[in-house]
Amino acid sequence: MTSSNGGFAELKFRDPARARALSATLERLLGEIGRAPVSVMHVCGSHEQAIAKFGLRAALPRALNVIMGPGCPVCITDVPEVDEGVALARQGVRIATYGDMVKVPGTVLSLADVQAEGGKVDVVYSVAQAVELARTIAEPLVFFATGFETTAVATAAAVLQNPPPNLFVLSAHKYIPPVMEIVAEMPDTRVEGFLAAGHAATITGWGVFEPFVERHKLPVVVAGFEPLDILAGLVKLVELIGAGTASVENMYPRCVTKEGNLRAQEQLWNVFRPIGGRWRGIAHVPNGNLRLRDEWAHLDARKQFDIDVNSLWDSAPPTLIQDCICGDIMAGIKSPTDCALFGEQCVPHSPVGACMVSSEGTCKIWHQYGGHPDLGGYGGAVCAR
């Protein structure tokens, strides 16, 4: 029995015996590598939710450091992008967007602030709801579209389905593969391998990571979202790190193929083109932003409205935000508990930074589930609930 087994008693694994076996394998593989920490990064808010919810870090060997990277689409939406939505709403344009986006601060204001001032902001769960809403009203409606390729593909499909003429798209969609290149090159991050998000890879296919692996000589493992899926993904990743093999392995074959969903990719790239742009707190990411192609200029809020962001910058930004280290957290350099505001001035009902706003933000996830970076191998202490 390893020190970490205490954690398993309370973990709700579908198959505890398999979980124990996987954990023991991890421990053995890390022992063979013989140095600590071995740091790996995942790039998916749902992975972090599962890791924190099921107390997985408590069950992991201490030598393994599992870091959440830029996997929260709300968090990495850049401040100027939020400002565009905020400026439009202040100009009297009706905005529809995903719930978490409403609370994310721009330079000075969030969409929620504009709503409080009387601005028209509607929360939708899907682009389809925005389309339905546009059909029932006469005024223009701008869908402030955020999210990674899994969500962008839905926006693309909606654009291709003849949306009503009063619907416009303000795209802040992001594409994950390019940001992995950036994070892999960040000198402070020191990640030895990536756990890729299963459902984004459902769209892109695991083959999309091959050029990355070739360039950076870092392994990538595609993993699902069940605790067992994640553990199995980590075992494979550590195995590759130990063997010094840089390759892509697909540990989520029930949803992910090498080519991915070609029909989805066709729609995605018919509607969007990748351009370089900033991700909040990370860096300029070449090809990391998805913008509407010129054919869709008639739907593009940036082309159809005069967005006056400058007017927002007259007032000073809130002071606390200057202490927010969200960017370093998403770059994998720091953890929420390194932030002086975490759980004090910054809490879910009164968030300072984007990472505390979104259900996929590291700070909010840690705040709800009490996850902690040093729990690897922490016998008995389960951080889930």
């Binding site: 709700k12 579908r14 998916c44 808010g45 749902s46 939710q49 599962a50 919810k53 996997g71 689409p73 995903y98 719930g99 939708v124 769960y125 899907s126 682009v127 389809a128 709801q129 339905e132 999210g147 990674f148 899994t150 969500t151 593909v153 839905a154 499909a157 291709l160 389905q161 998000a197 459902h199 984004a200 459902t202 769209i203 979202f225 069940e226 029930r254 949803c255 969903n261 070609l262 029909r263 989805a264 729609q267 259900s359 996929e360 909010k364 996830i365 709800q368 589930y369 609930r385």
Partner: protein, 95 residues
């Protein structure tokens, strides 16, 4: 938002499917999914679109996580809330 949610196809009408998510029926669009979908199939829904037809042999394994989340998680649980949001976000059933 990345998690999506699996559901069982009840009926298909052109590019629209009626899908059951733990008793809640929703209209899901089929433009994106890359395989033919028929009643009885399971699909993975993401913001109102089926993005994947789940292979028949993999359904139980796929559903397990969601069973756990929806049956046992507390009301304010983040992950369960995201899954409920996914279900709520799909097109309302017109039947």
């Amino acid at each position: 938002m990345c998690l999506g949610v699996p559901g069982k196809v009840i009926a298909v009408d052109g590019l629209m499917a009626t899908v059951d998510f733990w008793g809640v029926r929703k209209q899901i669009r089929l433009e994106v999914v890359d395989e033919t979908v028929q009643p009885g199939d399971y699909i993975l829904n993401h913001v109102g679109y089926a993005i994947r037809r789940i292979p028949p042999g993999e359904i139980d394994a796929t559903l397990a996580l969601y069973e756990e989340l929806l049956r046992h998680a507390e009301q304010d649980d983040l992950m369960a809330a995201d899954v409920r949001g996914e279900i709520a976000g799909a097109g309302d059933d017109q039947q």
